[in-house]
Symmetry: C2
Subunit: 330 residues, 2 copies
Amino acid sequence: MNETKFPHNAKKNWIGVDVGGTKIAIVLCSEPPIILERVAFPTLPEQGPQRALDMIQKTIHQVIQKHGLAPADIAAIGVSCGGPLDRVAGVIQSPPNLPNWDNVPIVSTLQREFIVDCRLENDANAGAVAEHRFGAGQGTQHMIFLTMGTGFGAGIIADGRLYHGVSDTAGEIGHVRLTSSGPIGYNKAGSVEGWASGGGMAQTAVLQVKTAIENGEVTSLAAQLIANKTLTAKDVADAARQGDAVAKRIVHSTAERLGEALAILVDLLNPELIVIGGLAMRFGDSLLAPARIVMQREALDVPAKACKIVPAALGEQIGDIAAICVAMGF
Amino acid sequence: MNETKFPHNAKKNWIGVDVGGTKIAIVLCSEPPIILERVAFPTLPEQGPQRALDMIQKTIHQVIQKHGLAPADIAAIGVSCGGPLDRVAGVIQSPPNLPNWDNVPIVSTLQREFIVDCRLENDANAGAVAEHRFGAGQGTQHMIFLTMGTGFGAGIIADGRLYHGVSDTAGEIGHVRLTSSGPIGYNKAGSVEGWASGGGMAQTAVLQVKTAIENGEVTSLAAQLIANKTLTAKDVADAARQGDAVAKRIVHSTAERLGEALAILVDLLNPELIVIGGLAMRFGDSLLAPARIVMQREALDVPAKACKIVPAALGEQIGDIAAICVAMGF
């Protein structure tokens, strides 16, 4: 991958570690956002953190050796992971998707192994910096990045800089309540995460498909629900793409709730741009167009007109580049 | 007031102009936040902006002459006013409390008259800077100031600096919807301003007192409602202070909605401090104690524990000092 085009420079090699609930990716960059090398392996969270930490260290060694580098040639290692985490101490604190990862000191572990700067950041913040530096947010001063996957979080770029808040938890829009009851997300009924995340869409899908079955409405999702006992946002996306009317309605419901969440961000933070990852990349304008309409209706005119809503530009690479951005520092 | 203690300095005299719907105050400071001189006069918004602009100019001349100063001794003039306004162009744009003030170029008018730097800022932002620099927020990096008067707005201090957003409208928490229906504020039913501003408390009071009358419950507010056809937050405060049970219940309802609004700010911005003006200064802990409980319940644990909720420390002087802060620049 472009190895000859971007010759290594001892001061310019960064390692990114993107820790997800399903897989962990190790990436090497010399000329971000170009990725020189990427190796991924399953996280297997049920096996606890030690195996994963060992795999991370082994894989980093392999990657840098393969490119003729030594640890001393690495400027820094960046770890991007779902919160909660202690960024300053460099400790991962039992994220929902890594239930056995209690107080994992990933930064000190990697620093000891490689004798190199190592940094930890939550994935929403890292994604915000990645889109701001290399993606849809380039050149903006006031931008919000939304993860819209299993969860729903925000990374806030304020006056050109990542905003952390006093205890590093800024951006938890997923925990904000939209309705007094409703689907549960982030342990809260009716929250933005309950309504508008991928998990929220799945919950809405189960309810709406059950109603459709009761009403004798035909939908390809009925058979899937009966077979699998549950539905995913991907199931809905596939059915909607095939023209399934119930699936389209589910997307529309989620989009309206997304629009309400966007309106809160627009009224409160007056960003010029909101970049949405996850579902927004999968669904595109079938999700974003109705969300924009609700946002325009719900938010104040001036900030609503000033704010563009777009899907993340880095696509599938966003997690890798986000981890590299953590390595590069903000 | 302390004239001899704080001798004038040609480089250190600031004029603040606090433009409200009821009154306009002109203040002179040499050693902020000590106010050397303060002159207030009625705004009379129904008479349009020209009379008020003339009065502002005349009063500034009088104030500086009285203190042996000339316009050349003034470092800058700051105007604090309710939005909407165009901060960069220095134009007031029909705030709700100044309905005839269409595109009033107050900055260029004062600059022409006094040949001195002049700046305009909305009152929530100016209040935030005042509390941050001289009040309850001294030494904080992440602070939110809430106006809680007729309206409900926020000024956001992020990483030690006032955050404006891309079109200068950041902080409009009053426009955020808490419920799909409810009292109207900021043209929106069920909004934070509808529920938790002074105007919102007055609306809640009318409904609750009507119910109390229907239920034969005794309250001193009943006679006031019948006599005046309406109620104000001050009526509620006075009755609550006398121990009126219905009034206390109204304060409690408003406090719960305030707590919900605080939780949104805490989850999204993770401030170390929220300083509340207006009603919070009048009601104190009878309002803030239940609001804190709801905030702690509704917001995430870590940011909720990290955030103190206090009334504004500058008290009645906040508007004057806010205008001086605008003059001093942020």
